[in-house]
């Protein structure tokens, strides 16, 4: 059963990428929807397998690490695989109705979409440093292609900026891989982790880890390396923005986090951990502030991503030199934050796209009086906002709670202020949009109701992020399943 699931997971998106390259947009849509269903089942099946039997290593081609490439199939990885399935499913379905079939280049959305999915799955399961590099590049090129699909000058400029940043980040990562391979002669993360645990010190590899984290931070748009993100996410078509914000930036963060958790304790340093944390804190505060200042709806959401990404990097200080119980708390908090942000941000971008479609403008003031039409999308937007603000009962809240607990228990109380202040600032920009919709002004009869499907999808995502809080315990339980080493 397991080989089938693995093959399905890796093979389906790649195969569908090839298949959907040939037909025109509409047939591509049908094919994609079939594929989405298949892929969803596979992801769910794998999740259940791991939930029952625990995690395992899967050697590709029968060659075990360090000679070959092994996939690490553990609770965290399958959780992210399922998350990807959910979000990609929603965005893909939404795109089918959102993108206009008449525009010729839109047909290329499908193959790029499927390649992106394949790359994401590869990254979640990757346990080989170089394989992760290839996966990252695959994701970056897909994302750039998707951003450029919007076709106008602004989109091209954003795409080029994005591409250059992504390439630089990947190259830095690869340089780190080169140093680490030179030091240990192995590419398998688990193998290196075992080697690092020996008593020696490895300053050269430490530099390697630093460069890798730097490169990945650039790809994740950690403040102050965030400049490329808002234009790219703001200008892309809404389903694309949703995919990018929800999943793509998480991929590079995921790699950084896995590296740090495996090697950080030995190769990292307190200063590095705190510095990354401070950058994250600045991202939270300045990102929220910038989001508040934007006049265009999707730019608000894009800057909000910069802010929310900041929270993720609190993982570094909260897992360095602290007791295992705190590491556990921080890990769980960050994982929940990733999941809830992915769901909420995807919902938000899709809803924002619908709203723009409805009022025919992307400016925040154009939303005046929209709430009287009771658009579902506004409601989805607000519900997703609850999660971003970290208010209960959303997943964002439980994540914040765990992080608060972790910072308190680690004695690094200064992160408490960041977490609480960040919540308030995000309330400022979310409510700014909400407030605009309550303004009563005259002459606002033009309102287009998008098709039901388009409205339902963000609503479902938003509800999921909202209810994540209630099921946090079981979700976390799967993530922390025992892992059979060398299985």
């Amino acid at each position: 059963m397991t080989p089938w699931l693995m093959a399905g997971l890796l093979f389906t998106p790649l195969a569908w990428a090839v298949l959907t390259l040939f037909p025109a947009f509409r047939l591509g849509r049908v094919l994609t929807r079939l594929g989405i269903l298949a892929q969803f089942l596979v992801a769910a099946g794998l999740w259940m397998t791991v939930a029952q039997d625990g995690g395992f290593y899967y050697p590709l081609g029968g060659w075990k690490a360090p000679l070959g490439i092994e996939l690490r199939v553990d609770g965290l990885a399958v959780t992210f695989v399922v998350l990807t399935a959910v979000v990609a499913c929603a965005c893909g379905w939404h795109a089918g109705d959102y993108l206009s079939p008449e525009t010729g280049r839109h047909r290329y959305f499908w193959p790029l979409f499927w390649f992106l999915w394949a790359g994401l799955n590869g990254v979640w399961l990757g346990a080989d440093l170089f394989n992760l590099y290839v996966g990252l590049e695959l994701i970056s090129l897909c994302s750039v292609g998707l951003v450029a699909l919007a076709g106008n000058v602004g989109a091209l400029r954003a795409a080029i900026r994005y591409l250059l940043a992504a390439l630089l980040g990947s190259l830095a990562y690869l340089l780190g891989v080169a140093l680490i391979y030179g030091q240990f002669g192995s590419l398998s993360l688990a193998g290196i982790q075992a080697l690092v645990a020996s008593a020696e010190s490895f300053p050269g590899a430490g530099v390697g880890l630093f460069i890798m984290i730097l490169g990945l931070a650039l790809k994740t748009a950690l403040f102050p390396l965030h400049g490329w993100l808002p234009p790219a996410h703001g200008i892309a078509k809404s389903p694309v923005s949703a995919l990018l914000s929800a999943l793509v930036v998480k991929a590079s963060f995921y790699i950084a986090a896995r590296l740090w958790l495996a090697l950080g304790e030995e190769l990292g340093s307190f200063v590095l951990a705190q510095a990354v944390g401070v950058a994250g804190a600045l991202a939270v505060i300045l990102g929220s502030w910038l989001a508040f200042c934007q006049s265009r709806l999707k730019q608000v959401v894009a800057y909000s991503s910069v802010a929310q990404i900041g929270y993720l990097f609190l993982l570094f200080p909260l897992t360095f030199g602290v007791p295992d119980s705190v590491v556990q708390l921080a890990q769980q908090g960050i994982a929940l934050q990733v999941i809830s942000h992915a769901l909420a941000k995807a919902a938000m971008f899709l809803a924002a796209g619908n709203l723009i479609l409805s009022v025919g403008s992307n400016r925040v003031e154009a939303l005046a009086g929209v709430s009287r039409f009771l658009p579902f999308s506004l409601f989805s937007f607000a519900l997703a906002g609850v999660s971003l603000m970290g208010l209960p009962p959303s997943g964002g809240f439980t994540a914040k709670w765990l992080l608060l607990q972790a910072s308190l228990a680690s004695g690094q109380w200064w992160w408490l202020a960041v977490l609480l202040l960040g919540g308030l600032l995000s309330a400022a920009y979310v409510f700014r949009i909400y407030r605009a919709s309550f303004v009563e002004s005259r002459g606002q009869d033009q309102f287009y109701h998008p098709p039901r499907v388009l409205e339902a999808i963000p609503m479902m995502l938003a509800l999921m992020s909202l209810c994540l809080g209630f099921v946090s315990e079981p979700v976390l339980a799967v993530m922390s399943l025992p892992f059979e080493e060398g299985g």
Partner: protein, 498 residues
């Protein structure tokens, strides 16, 4: 015990579902909306009644599961919860009826009633929350669901008020969250428990606990409008009258006060809070708030603003009662939770009636309104006398209990505060009554509507009268079983008798 676990959930769900149904209803389906609204309110009232009976005979309704590792979500119906739940279920019904009449011809009604029900669901959750974590969930939900009600009119003034409301309450929420997390870090997950948890707390805890207490109370104090955290409340008056009524009588302000009650009684415990010297600070804050609110009310010309400052003052009676160290004072404070709710909602209903029927918003526009609207004015008069503390009305019970409690614990100066406050109450209510009944109308009403036989719309006419009757009944029948006072004495006996 399965049904026992589910009853609190049902009580929550009735208004939650009602809100979801209403959100999906188109604007013009007024009849269905009314049906759903009133039906849900009646069902909820019935459910709460069942639970009250059950709690009285010692049954326990409990639902608990882990939301996070080591953090529980708990819904639990105990005596204190039922006090608040009963109040909100009853007043929800009346306010809904009132609001249907009040908003009869205005736009955005689906939106309004949807959030209105959501707000009541949150209040129910606050009542039934079994630990601070759960309490916080509903506390923040309340903030979110009241915002759309405050800015409902969409005017710049309303939007500004809404912004300030959010700044205050969300900051308060953040402080509260910090307090809860600190407490969790110190002692782990704590369910609310009669008598509190820290009776035998060691010295290492005693160092940190006052800080936690400070965080919790200042977080809750924002909603309870303790001076100096009260700034949002008078501004929030721009909301439609039913919203103000709800905000002041049951939902927001009371949620804060109720939270303080929970923290003092069931987290810290009255005795340990007292022994750590936490309450003597709080009693000063409460007294200052009482006097400040009353004094400020004197200067307001807008009727609703005067009522708002009156609320600031009156809600602090509840806090004051807790801090009197003794069971009698505590009972006085708790019973005021109900009494103030019923009296204040009457006053707001009446204010809304004057505004809707006569177009009168300012106090000097009310000359001779007693003749034009005798029913409303009688209700207003009863409630105002209740507020002042005239026997045998509801307010008298509160002040009597508080006074006795203070004397019993040797805090004579509190009696002075009570008397001074009553004088001030009289000073700002009696001129209104004088205008209502003893002034002649010389000019036409600012904006008059006629409704046929009754002085105002049926929907608007009966709710204030009913609450006025309740104001009297609570006072007169204070000794009956299931009266608020009897119930409060039951609570206090469970809390303090240990």
């Amino acid at each position: 015990m399965a049904s026992g676990a589910l009853l609190p959930v049902f009580a929550l769900m009735t208004s939650l579902l009602a809100s979801l149904i209403i959100f999906t209803l188109p604007e013009d389906r007024g009849r269905v909306r009314t049906l759903v609204n009133i039906g849900a309110a009646l069902i909820k009232l019935a459910l709460v009644a069942v639970m009250i009976r059950g709690v009285a005979i010692g049954q326990e309704y409990l639902l608990a599961f882990d939301m996070l590792p080591g953090v529980e979500f708990v819904l639990r119906a105990d005596a204190l919860a039922m006090l608040f739940a009963g109040l909100s279920a009853l007043l929800w019904l009346l306010t809904t009826i009132y609001a249907i009449g009040y908003l009869e011809a205005s736009p955005n009604r689906s939106r309004f009633f949807g959030f209105f029900s959501l707000c009541v669901a949150s209040t129910m959750g606050i009542a039934l929350a079994g630990n601070l974590f759960t309490f916080f969930i509903f506390y923040e939900m309340l903030t979110l669901s009241t915002y759309p009600l405050v800015v409902h009119r969409g005017t710049p003034k309303a939007l500004r008020a809404g912004r300030n409301y959010l700044i205050y309450t969300l900051t308060g929420g953040a402080v509260l969250l910090l307090g809860i997390v600190c407490l969790h870090g110190l002692v782990g997950d704590l369910r609310f428990q009669e008598g509190g948890h820290f009776a035998g707390a060691g010295p290492e805890l005693r160092g940190a606990l006052p800080w936690v207490f400070f965080l919790l109370v200042s977080g809750l104090g924002v909603k309870a409008a303790l001076v100096p955290l009260h700034g949002w409340l008078p501004q929030a008056m721009v909301a439609p009258a039913p919203v103000s009524a709800l905000l002041h009588a049951v939902a927001v302000v009371k949620a804060g006060a109720f939270g303080i009650v929970r923290v003092v009684f069931e987290v810290f415990g009255l005795e340990s809070a007292q022994s750590m010297g936490l309450l003597s600070v709080l009693v000063v804050v409460a007294s200052v708030t009482i006097l400040y609110g009353s004094a400020m009310a004197l200067y307001q010309v807008d009727l609703k603003r005067r009522l708002a400052f009156s609320t600031i003052s009156q809600v602090s009676y509840i806090v004051l009662g807790l801090c009197l160290f003794g069971p009698v004072g505590a009972a006085g404070g708790l019973v005021h939770l109900v009494n103030q709710g019923i009296m204040k909602i009457t006053l707001f209903f009446c204010a809304g009636n004057y505004a809707e029927t006569l177009g009168a918003h300012r106090i000097d526009e009310l000359d001779g309104a007693g003749k034009r609207m005798p029913g409303t004015s009688v209700a207003f008069t009863i409630a105002a006398f209740g507020m002042i503390g005239a026997p045998p009305l509801a307010g008298f019970i509160t002040k009597w209990m508080l006074g006795i409690g203070a004397l019993a614990e040797g805090m004579d100066w509190v009696v002075g505060v009570l008397i001074l406050s009553s004088v001030l109450n009289a000073a700002y209510f009696l001129p209104i009554l004088h205008r209502l009944w003893f002034r002649e109308r010389t000019t036409p009403w600012p904006k008059e509507y006629r409704w046929g036989r009754l002085e105002t719309s049926v929907w608007l006419f009966w709710p204030p009268l009913m609450t006025a009757v309740m104001t009297m009944a609570i006072g007169v029948f204070a000794a009956m079983p299931f009266s608020p006072l009897a119930w409060v004495i039951l609570i206090v006996s469970r809390e303090v008798a240990l």
